[in-house]
């Protein structure tokens, strides 16, 4: 029998400190029982100093007082029961059911912190996932087992885009390979969670979705565990049950804010913008859980969504994320305001795994060249636009005028597509060729003569 403690010395935000404690371990889960009501709050040991212990409480610490609760050390790390029954269920940020369903019972338990995958055990991801969205499929191709975040801003349609990807993407090649979705909502508005639930329903995948939800008005300490619970479920389904799992997580910004709040309550030395110095390692411990393993079916493809504070891509949250993830899909406010959906700003967008997952045998032989040329040409469009701002479009050279026309057509026809419109990769590539044909052939220096012969649209 473990000792129970009655005296709380200090409560600061989500942290409590108790003294004279023996025999606890770092990371141990704690039950805090309110004596009068019997309500149980959960916490976790995050620092031990001699006999003083600091506990991070996952629920609201509002009613805690020096002597109104019993603190019980459970002798357990933070484990969750794992089972196929997780699918179709909704949990809160510490893995308790909130859909009025029964608790999950299973002999299999997993520590929510996970452990790093040995790079020797990984399989390098190469399988293309068609999302049906031209800009993503052609220019920032999603690969099975990739972690590809969506960098968005407040008010931009990132939720719609994520929902469209869930609806249109087919993760398994073969019919007998199962796929599923794990959805983690971290500090989201109730509306957003409703939107996702509705779109999962419409896509007919609800019975394959595991949801972990922490609402914006839920306690912030729970935001730290929400993504970990979700990824633990994803690892179980992908690596034990060999399913192809798409993890959609929103909003990483709320997660980082919570991290900062707790760090400041712990009186830690801050680094950039007050975020803790270990935020890189901490985010990596989430993002790096995506991937595939050698010689076995199953994968975790990870689509985290974050809103860039003030649309600033150099803000620590997108910055550190970009250093860990395998590329990023950036949404642009400027495109959004011109009613282009999805407003994917292709120049800063990138898929690092694309180089090995496109081309002959995956998509089509010309894919890499077309993508390269579209990037180069659209990048030139930006320069020409800047110039036309100054000297006026009339005075541009004839080549530059063609660039202006190409830019407009590219945005209106290629980037822009319907919320329900799914284009396959061949359609997207052909569309790319059609638009590149607006430019003089001499400007298309990234295309090889063979591919020009084969794919360049013949004059009507």
């Amino acid at each position: 029998m473990k000792k129970e403690y009655l005296q709380i010395d200090k409560v600061v935000g989500p942290l409590i400190q108790i003294s004279d404690v023996d025999d606890v371990f770092y990371g141990e889960v704690v039950d805090i029982v309110e004596i009068s009501t019997g309500n149980i709050k959960k916490g976790k040991v995050i620092k031990i100093e001699e006999k003083n212990v600091i506990i991070q409480v996952f629920q609201n610490t509002a009613d805690l007082a020096a002597g109104n609760s019993i603190i019980k050390f459970t002798g357990q790390a933070f484990n969750l029961p794992m089972s196929l029954d997780l699918q179709g269920r909704i949990f809160n940020g510490i893995g308790e059911p909130i859909d009025n369903g029964s608790d999950i019972f299973s002999l299999v338990e997993a520590n929510i912190n996970g452990r790093p995958i040995n790079p020797m055990s990984r399989e390098y991801p190469r399988n293309f996932i068609q999302t049906g969205i031209s800009s993503i499929d052609t220019l920032a191709t999603l690969i099975r087992g990739q972690k590809l975040p969506i960098f968005s801003g407040n008010g931009l349609p990132h939720n719609e885009l994520a929902a469209q990807i869930v609806r249109q993407a087919r993760l398994g090649d073969n019919v007998d390979e199962e796929f599923g979705v794990v959805f983690a909502a971290i500090g989201v508005k109730h509306d957003d969670e409703k939107f996702f639930r509705k779109s999962f329903d419409e896509a007919n995948v609800m019975d394959r979705v595991v949801m972990f939800v922490n609402y914006a008005d839920d306690p912030i300490a729970e935001r730290i565990t929400t993504p970990r619970c979700a990824l633990t479920a994803a690892e179980y389904l992908a690596f034990e049950k060999h399913m192809h799992i798409l993890v959609v997580m929103t909003d990483i910004t709320s997660y980082c804010e919570a991290l900062r709040e707790i760090s400041s309550a712990r009186e830690e030395v801050p680094s950039r913008k007050g975020y803790p110095g270990y935020m890189y390692s901490d985010l990596a411990s989430l993002y790096e859980r995506a991937g595939m393993l050698k010689d076995q079916v199953g994968s975790i493809t990870f689509l985290p969504i974050l809103t860039m504070p003030n649309d600033d891509i150099t803000h620590p949250i997108p910055d550190l994320t970009g250093y860990i993830t395998e590329g990023q899909i950036v949404l642009g406010r400027d495109l959004f305001q011109r009613s282009i959906y999805p407003p994917v700003a292709i120049l800063p967008s990138l898929s690092r795994l694309m180089k090995d997952g496109v081309g002959e045998g995956f998509t089509r032989g010309d894919h890499a060249e077309v993508a390269n040329q579209l990037f180069a040409s659209y990048s030139k469009v930006q320069e020409v636009r800047d110039l036309s701002q100054i000297i006026g479009e009339e005075d541009l050279s004839s080549t530059d005028k063609k660039y202006m026309a190409f830019g407009r057509a590219f945005e209106a026809k290629f980037l822009n597509q319907g919320f329900d419109e799914s284009r396959n990769i061949i359609q997207s590539l052909d569309l790319g060729w059609k638009l590149l044909a607006l430019l003089p052939l001499t400007e298309l220096d990234r295309l090889s003569p063979e591919n020009i012969d084969k794919y360049f649209p013949k004059e009507a």
Partner: protein, 595 residues
């Protein structure tokens, strides 16, 4: 495998804060001593001693540790076992082979697996080169082992022993733990020499003396070899925001550099990138040896989700391994991707120690640590009298892509080559996205003799001329942004046209093209020389009053842009033909204007 533990007094854990723990009863412990912590025997290192309280950084996940558990000393600092078996292998930050870890736990990396090292069961065929009575100095060679198909491991006397050989085993197969040679030193003490010996990671291995660095590290990358060369034994930094291609550039250097040995450290980077290296490198053939480039490569991986303290150690592990091969007389090139993650690991540990932070939370000793690290590079004479060198190429990941942050700033002070990666070039898919205006190489002067003797008399002056042209282009572009290109006079428009060829046809290099991924120096020079020829002939025309629009022959220009693909690396006759075509076209054209 258990770590050898000293039969000394043990410490008692008194505080736990992430990877940093404190222990009491530690008066007999030494600073920087390696220890094992707790029932799981996690590996750690003493980093602060104060009275009987010691602070330890732990190289494994500390979840589950309790106060009151024991801290056991090992009596020695964090050390590596240096011997055959490191090449073609991949290690974690404290030299534990990931393949062996995989045998213990197939998918994830568990804690408490103890200190593993290179294989001590494998038999290596050794050839002994000494006989009884020989005097063996510290750092000299007493035998050889064919470690891989291309690298011979020269068995070294450890740098801290010397003496007269009294016993040698015959040639034959031995493990790294077998005693091969026994020597008696001046104090009449006996020392047993094995294939492997231990060396503490934080102590630089000694050498006879430092030489000047006079030979370039040939990388096959045009923008580096011609414009910003790195000397063998030199230091270089590659800073760049995310998505600018740091890792890509580092991979290209690891693949194609003409060093004998490559040590590649994935420090706090992506797991998939290390997997990519393991999958790709064995398939790539080294143009010099004709064998797989993996035969000469040591990999160290501490991915971003592995314990942060081991990240701090991984850099030292890498450079110690590099020094070991250097001491055999090899030219070693070491890539560290990324040194910023190492600096952040320092910051994280420093924060947990509650040290007073300097800039952006980094500890005040950041600059001195960076300096110590890069100073382990150099071209040296080994204790055994051979030539050896270590070239260090460190990637830097500046926060927000801003080069004025502390890690980039301090790195700049201690490296001689700065290859600045540029976001806007990367956005335009100009790879490698090395910005030619911001980058520099401090080795141009000392390497110019080499280039003159081995490439061409005018190689460096050609490089300077073309770089100057690129500077001019930059200024002109600013003007173009204000008034448009049509308004510029013809000679300036000609500069813009040539600069475009240099950018697209020369500086951009395609890592995925089998010819362009590695280009021999002769072709690099010939290509640039041809561009110069076009430029100079065009200027003749401008003097005659030929407008740029006529000088710009579409066919010739597109041949220039594609010559990296169309002209084979081993047959440069196409470049002469291209010059002939220029002459034919311009001669006819100029005739029309001459009168």
């Amino acid at each position: 495998m258990a770590v050898k533990e000293e039969n000394k007094e043990k410490g008692i854990i008194s505080a736990i804060n992430g990877p940093v723990i404190k222990g009491k009863n530690m008066t007999t412990f030494k600073m920087r001593e390696m220890v094992t912590v707790g029932e799981q025997r996690l590996i750690g290192e003493v980093i602060v001693l104060e009275g009987d309280v010691g602070t330890i950084q732990v190289y494994e996940e500390t979840e589950g540790l309790k106060t009151g558990e024991e801290i056991t000393p090992t009596g020695r600092p964090l050390s590596l076992k240096l011997g055959p078996g490191m090449l073609k292998n991949m290690f974690d930050g404290i030299q534990r082979p990931l393949e062996k870890i995989q045998e213990i736990s197939p998918i994830f990396i568990p804690e408490g697996i103890g200190l593993l090292s290179i294989d001590d069961k494998k038999l290596w065929p050794a050839v002994m080169t000494v006989k009884p009575g020989d005097l063996l100095l510290a750092g000299s060679i007493f035998g050889t082992v064919e470690e891989t198909q291309v690298i011979q491991n020269r068995l070294l006397v450890p740098p801290n022993v010397s003496g007269t050989v009294i016993d040698v085993v015959p040639d034959g197969s031995y493990t790294i733990e077998d005693v091969l040679v026994t020597i008696r030193d001046a104090k009449n003490e006996l020392h047993e020499l094995k294939m492997a010996h231990e060396w503490p990671v934080r102590t630089p291995r000694p050498n006879a003396y430092r030489r000047e660095t006079l030979v370039p590290l040939i990388t096959g990358q045009r923008v580096i070899d011609i414009f910003f060369p790195i000397a063998k034994g030199g230091t270089a930094a590659i800073p760049g925001g995310f998505g600018t291609g740091k890792t890509m550039t580092q991979h290209q250097l690891a693949k194609w550099s003409d060093a004998d040995i490559i040590v590649y450290i994935g420090c706090g980077e992506r797991g998939n990138e290390m997997t990519e290296v393991i999958e790709d490198f064995p398939k790539l053939i080294d143009p010099r040896s004709g064998k797989s480039i993996m035969e000469r490569t040591v990999l160290i991986a501490n991915t971003s989700n592995m314990p942060v303290a081991a990240r701090e150690a991984s850099i030292y592990t890498g450079v110690t391994i590099a020094e070991y091969y250097r001491d055999m007389g090899y030219a070693v090139a070491m890539m560290a991707d990324s040194t910023s993650r190492w600096a952040e690991a320092l910051r994280e540990i420093s924060g947990r120690l509650e040290e007073m932070p300097a800039e952006e939370g980094y500890p005040a000793y950041l600059p001195s640590r960076i300096a110590e690290f890069y100073e382990r590079a150099g071209s040296i004479e080994t204790l055994g009298g051979d030539d050896g060198s270590i070239t260090i190429i460190g990637a830097v990941s500046p926060a927000g892509g801003d080069f004025s942050e502390p890690v980039t700033e301090n790195t700049k002070r201690f490296v001689n080559v700065f290859l600045a990666l540029d976001k806007s070039l990367a956005y335009a898919r100009h790879y490698p996205a090395i910005n030619w205006l911001e980058s520099y190489s401090g080795y141009i002067k000392i390497l110019s003799d080499w280039y003159e003797d081995n490439v061409a008399e005018d190689c460096i002056s050609l490089r300077n001329k073309m770089l100057e042209l690129m500077y001019e282009e930059n200024k002109l572009q600013e003007m173009v942004m204000l008034v448009g290109e049509d308004v510029l006079p013809d000679d300036q428009r000609w500069v813009l046209e040539i600069a475009k060829i240099i950018k697209v046809g020369y500086l951009q290099q395609n890592a995925y093209n089998k010819d362009d991924t590695y280009v021999p120096l002769e072709k690099q020079y010939a290509m640039l020389k041809a561009i110069e020829y076009l430029y100079d002939r065009g200027r003749e025309g401008l003097k005659l009053g030929v407008p740029t629009s006529r000088l710009k022959n579409i066919d010739i220009f597109s041949q220039f842009i594609k010559m990296k693909y169309t002209i084979p690396n081993d047959d440069l006759s196409g470049i002469d033909k291209l010059k002939d075509e220029i002459d034919q076209y311009f001669d006819v054209l100029f005739k029309k204007y001459e009168n």
